[in-house]
């Protein structure tokens, strides 16, 4: 008999010992379940990120066979590179536009679809369906629609409007990509908001109405505060996805016209995989990670000021 079992028996008898064994088994099963995710995070997330940081301190051109330690030179170069800061500004603009449009539209749709009407699930499925469509297929189709001689301008011409060259006009290109991306992803946020709206207790809304509040006042003062945890979640995941945006830029604009839609992740791709400057691209990747982490931390810190029940 082990010392631990003796202690268990002395402490509370065989029942407690059995409970501990059960606890250990539960823990083992639980850890076995999370192990694949842990392996994934470590093997596909943390270790590759460690390599990215390591590469950022090197001059690495695989074509020339160069891999030389250069210390902080890539980061020095970052500080003076107008193209990088321009891309970062474009990324912020893209992210801000996308967050405002996506979250507003998702909330509006969720409120409209939070009704007990015949056939409402069909509408919910309709708005959610773009989420499950391949992103490349989605942006390719939109690319044809918003071409200068495409369907959108064809439809506008029918009502006498001479539409712009959506993806090639510096004034419209970024906005067009944002709108295409909003339509693609709004369904997911809509579903999250819908779930949150359905979790708002009906008695609170009823009490508000009994106190004389109208529909808007009830929404603003009762419903909206109660779904702020979901708004926080949606804000964080939408922001991270927007900061990483790549596919629509690659397929629709290749970063143009000029560099109007060159976001930081696309610049990273260009630097690494088109210009073979892998070390500098790694430094850009570290910058993107740091900026995204900082923005997420800011959102997390500020949650206490506006998220319901956060202390």
């Amino acid at each position: 008999m082990s010392g631990r079992e003796t202690a268990a028996t002395a402490d509370g008898g065989p029942r407690r010992s059995a409970a501990r064994r059960l606890a250990r088994n539960d823990a083992a099963v639980g850890l076995a379940f999370v192990a694949p995710a842990v392996i994934g995070v470590i093997g596909l997330g943390l270790i590759p990120f460690g390599y990215v940081v390591w590469y950022a301190f090197h001059d690495w051109n695989p074509l020339l066979g160069e891999f030389t330690w250069i210390g902080f030179d890539n980061f020095d170069r970052l500080l003076g590179d107008d193209v990088v800061w321009g891309a970062l500004l474009t990324t912020f603009t893209f992210t801000a536009l996308l967050m405002v449009l996506n979250i507003s539209l998702a909330l509006l749709l969720a409120v409209l679809l939070n009704q007990r009407l015949r056939g409402i699930t069909t509408f919910r499925a309709l708005f959610f369906s773009p989420v499950i469509v391949s992103t490349v297929a989605w942006v390719l189709i939109w690319g044809y629609l918003v071409a200068d001689n495409g369907g959108v301008n064809g439809a506008l011409a029918l009502v006498g409007i001479d539409g712009p060259n959506w993806l090639r006009d510096p004034n419209w290109a970024l906005v067009t990509v944002v709108v295409i991306q909003v339509f693609k992803g709004v369904g997911m946020n809509m579903i999250l908001f819908l779930a949150a709206l359905q979790g708002v207790p009906g008695e609170l809304k009823e009490a508000s109405r009994l106190d004389g509040a109208g529909a808007w006042r009830t929404f603003r003062s009762v419903t909206l505060p109660l779904i702020t945890p979901t708004i926080l979640l949606v804000s964080i995941i939408t922001m991270i996805a927007a900061m990483d945006v790549f596919v629509p830029i690659q397929v629709l604009t290749s970063g143009g016209p000029g560099r109007e839609t060159t976001v930081i992740s696309y610049l990273l791709y260009q630097t690494a995989f088109r210009q073979n400057d892998f070390g500098y691209a790694a430094a850009i990747g570290v910058l993107l990670f740091a900026v995204t982490l900082a923005l997420t931390m800011v959102q997390w810190k500020w949650r206490r000021r506006w998220v319901h029940d956060e202390v």
């Binding site: 501990r20 076995a32 392996i39 020339l64 200068d148």
Partner: protein
């Protein structure tokens, strides 16, 4: 009441998790082939064609080599990368240590790959291989692939650019047959543009579609080469000085800009057209395009017209190189000598116009383009192949293509100041040229 359970982390599970992570990482980091192992090796060649007929002829040639050298090679894999990211994908493979043994390379990147030292010198193997007939290779075809002393790739495909014309559209628009213009000595870029513009206006189609679907995303690849007929080049012969601002370049881009925005000859940026669907009067293209045209409309294939600097045949070229830091460069070079010997070059000529003088015949090339007449083959393939120039490359092209595209984008508006934009292009690429 349930007892409060305190969950401890069982050491066994932690150990198992650690082991699993370690095993996963170990299995990820271990290579596929053991280079030090004896016995036959598996070769891999990256290509950008997944065409089944192409793959069949490549495999047929490879299988014969494997059969003849079972102790040397166990098989040859043709790895098709077809999504438009070919160069990036292969470079990434090299960066990741998964270097292919052999690779296809386009002419635009020839200088970059040859000068980088990433390719093995093939001349010794070609010279030593019995019956290879190195002297049969056209000097014009191998020019790009020669280094200081060696030959760094075999230019397996040499396909001059020509002009496809939808003769039905021209006839409907009351325009002359381009063959008559050629016979009259009036086959010039100006005349071609005039016919294209008038056909476009009369028939509601596009005038001239360029060689790629979105030429404005690849201006250095699809637009600048037309300027060779003006004597326009992107940079000097030695690659150190920008030439976008030369009088010839300005004249060419001025002409092109005017044709787009004043005459509607070329589709403007953002417009999509498809010659094969009858949406354009002309298309700049190569031999392989003829296979997809069918007989839904009448068409012809003509040589490039004359510009202010004369008629300059432009050739699209592709080479096969052996990666010097691949696992089996010697075996790969020996395989390539077999793959491109006169007998197998004739087999490849079914799809790829060969670089061998002995194979530049209508008889050989008829198999590659059965829809073309002997006259078309002579005019657009055989004669230009002996003297054609290739698109202008540069040892640091990869680092400049996106910069050129970005700085040239402002040219594609009706009110653009051509000379000022070209000056901006030069400012943007001069640091790279000066490296």
């Amino acid at each position: 009441m349930k007892p409060q359970l305190r969950i401890r982390t069982p050491r066994a599970v932690a150990t198992a998790t650690t082991l699993a992570v370690a095993l996963t990482l170990t299995s990820c980091s271990s290579g596929g082939d053991d280079a030090s192992a004896d016995g036959p090796v598996q070769l891999r060649m990256t290509t950008w064609s997944s065409n089944e007929e192409h793959q069949a002829v490549l495999q047929e040639i490879a299988d014969a080599y494997v059969e003849a050298h079972p102790d040397l090679v166990s098989g040859v894999e043709f790895d098709a990368i077809t999504d438009g990211t070919y160069v990036s994908a292969v470079t990434t493979q090299i960066a990741g240590g998964d270097t292919p043994d052999l690779m296809w390379i386009t002419e635009a990147y020839a200088e970059e790959f040859v000068s980088s030292g990433v390719l093995a010198d093939l001349r010794p193997v070609f010279v030593e291989t019995e019956g290879y007939q190195v002297e049969d290779l056209l000097p014009a075809a191998t020019e790009l692939w020669r280094g200081e002393e060696g030959l760094y790739a075999y230019p397996f495909s040499n396909s001059p650019f020509g002009v496809y014309v939808n003769t039905d559209l021209l006839a409907a628009a009351g325009q002359p047959d381009p063959r008559e213009l050629i016979a009259d000595g009036a086959w010039t870029w100006d005349r071609l543009a005039e016919v294209a513009s008038q056909t476009a206006q009369a028939e509601g189609v596009a005038g001239i579609q360029l060689s790629v679907d979105d030429p404005y995303a690849l201006p250095n690849d699809a637009i600048t080469p037309l300027g060779l007929a003006w004597g326009a080049r992107p940079w000097s012969e030695d690659g150190t000085t920008c030439a976008y601002t030369s009088p010839e370049s300005v004249a060419f881009f001025d002409w092109y800009h005017s044709q787009v925005y004043d005459h509607g000859t070329f589709p403007a940026i953002g417009e999509t057209v498809d010659f094969a669907s009858g949406q354009a009067a002309f298309r700049i293209g190569q031999l392989s395009l003829s296979a997809g045209l069918g007989d839904t409309f009448g068409w012809d294939f003509l040589p490039l017209p004359e510009g202010p600097a004369g008629t300059v045949p432009v050739m699209g070229q592709a080479g096969i190189g052996v990666l010097a830091n691949g696992e089996h460069p010697d075996v790969a070079a020996d395989f390539l000598a077999h793959f491109t010997n006169p007998e197998n070059a004739a087999k490849l000529a079914r799809f790829f116009p060969p670089p061998r003088e002995s194979l530049l015949t209508t008889e050989t090339l008829r198999a590659a383009a059965p829809t073309l007449t002997d006259e078309q083959l002579e005019d657009t393939l055989i004669n230009p192949a002996r003297s054609a120039t290739t698109k202008v490359g540069h040892p640091r092209l990869s680092g400049m293509v996106d910069t050129i595209r970005a700085s040239m984008d402002s040219l594609w508006t009706p009110e653009a100041d051509v000379e000022a934009v070209l000056a901006d292009v030069c400012s943007a690429i001069e640091p790279s040229l000066a490296e």
